[in-house]
């Protein structure tokens, strides 16, 4: 593929997008006020929905029936669910891996993760690996409810937690096909914060948008130097981890190759409290759904 081949990717602009952009651009002053009112209504509705969602979650674990089938699973989908119901708990967090479904190429997992004591925030770093006939399979995260790429804080450090403790992830086999049962290995590192936690304003409220790349990342380096933890979006530590100094006696390459959870523990900002480990097998499906 040549660079010139790419010049027409995603063009022309569809009419709907064109109209949305023009309407927004031409009504900036008037619409700013209108948006504020809409947001208030949205927040009230969201609060109501969250209350209902939480109540349901207490009664029943979050399942792939909701996560992957939109609450309306077909009979074939039901037949292929692998019920797991693996429950783990420590003084910080309660974790239930409810169930999974594997279609031969991709697996979906659904789970509940909830804090035991909201005053004791922890960072959750999940990881999934797989083997088939003794060989490791390359995996690619292709969908998620919660950040299954770089982990997340529990509880979220802002008051807009829309997940209600319900998490899910879709993982696809990358360039590999399963030709037999697949053994899955799901780990969840739980890290307790040793330092005070703050949220960055640039991603959260849009403040500091004029910061240069260097200035933005310097916020995280400065925060570490002050003995603080700085989250993005009130839950992610991928930027903070990118600015952690390499521990003495270790090469930078070796440190950056470590899992993010291990880097955070090594930095002193967090302590690795526990690693929950689950193994389970899925068979090749006999039918599609």
């Amino acid at each position: 593929m040549k660079r010139s081949d790419l010049q027409n990717v995603y063009s022309p602009v569809p009419q709907g997008f064109h109209n949305a952009l023009h309407n927004a651009a031409h009504s900036v002053e008037e619409k700013t006020d209108m948006k504020k009112n809409t947001s208030l209504v949205a927040i009230c509705l969201l609060a109501l929905l969250l209350t209902c969602g939480t109540a349901l979650a207490v009664v029943k674990g979050y399942s792939v029936r909701q996560y992957a089938a939109g609450g309306n699973p077909s009979p074939a989908f039901e037949r292929h669910i692998t019920q797991l119901d693996q429950v783990f708990e420590n003084e910080y967090v309660s974790f239930t891996l409810t169930d999974a479904i594997f279609d031969g190429n991709a697996i979906s997992l659904a789970m509940n993760i909830k804090p035991i004591d909201e005053s004791k925030p922890v960072y959750i770093f999940p990881q999934l690996t797989a083997t088939c006939n003794g060989r490791s399979l390359d995996l690619d995260v292709v969908g998620m409810r919660g950040d299954f790429m770089s982990g997340f804080m529990i509880p979220k450090q802002t008051d807009d937690d829309t997940l209600g403790g319900q998490y899910g992830v879709d993982v696809e086999l990358f360039e590999d096909e399963a030709d037999a049962d697949v053994t899955w290995h799901f780990t969840l590192q739980v890290l307790a914060a040793n330092w005070p936690i703050k949220n960055d304003d640039a991603t959260l409220r849009g403040e500091g948008l004029d910061l240069s790349h260097e200035d933005f990342f310097q916020l995280f380096a400065d925060s570490y130097a002050r003995g603080e933890i700085l989250t993005t979006w009130g839950e992610s530590l991928s930027e903070y981890a990118a600015m952690l100094p390499t521990p003495s006696g270790m090469s930078d390459e070796a440190f950056r190759a470590m899992k993010l959870g291990d880097q955070l523990a090594q930095s002193g900002a967090f302590t690795l409290i526990q690693t929950f480990v689950c193994y389970f097998d899925t068979a090749l499906p006999s039918e599609q759904w």
Binding site: Y10, L21, V141
Partner: protein
């Protein structure tokens, strides 16, 4: 920056804004919501822009944040579309549609740097700033994306060749 200048700058970046939203969000409604929110936020924060020459990169960074914000509001984020879903939603035909579909086959974390660098001409440094990442990480993502695109394109060409041989 007055309102007229702001509108002019936004309208001149329409294609760029669409490509960024399209690279990050599958739903057309979400793409429209994201660009509208980004424009409103940019207008409200325009006084924080120190150098108007960087308006385009600044607005793209706001739009990327809005797209990420939409990710986080949704109940389930789909990062990769299937070929069938892309074909159904495509607006174009023939070779162009296939190229869009190839791009869509890439995971979002690989697709967006390709759009921003090779199509929109932003520097690796600017992209690292927009995506809150490091220059090294962006270069690695572009390398993997180029390799994946090349592999996919070769497979496509091979399939076309086989089809032609069959018809002969």
């Amino acid at each position: 920056m007055d309102k007229q200048q702001f509108i002019q700058q936004v309208l001149s970046g329409e294609q760029t804004l669409y490509r960024v939203a399209r690279a990050m969000l599958r739903s057309e409604a979400d793409q429209q919501d994201a660009v509208q929110e980004a424009i409103l936020k940019a207008w409200a924060k325009r006084h924080t822009l120190r150098d108007e020459q960087h308006f385009s990169a600044w607005l793209v960074r706001i739009l990327i944040n809005e797209c990420k914000s939409i990710y986080r509001r949704q109940s389930r984020v789909v990062l990769k579309e299937t070929w069938d879903e892309v074909s159904l939603g495509s607006h174009t035909h023939g070779a162009q549609s296939e190229l869009d579909a190839l791009m869509d086959e890439l995971p979002e974390r690989l697709r967006l740097p390709i759009v921003l660098h090779y199509i929109e001409g932003f520097s690796v440094k600017d992209i690292a700033s927009m995506l809150h990442s490091t220059q090294g990480a962006i270069k690695k993502r572009m390398f993997v994306a180029r390799r994946t695109l090349k592999l996919q394109l070769e497979q496509e060409l091979e399939q076309d060749h086989n089809k032609e041989a069959w018809l002969r």
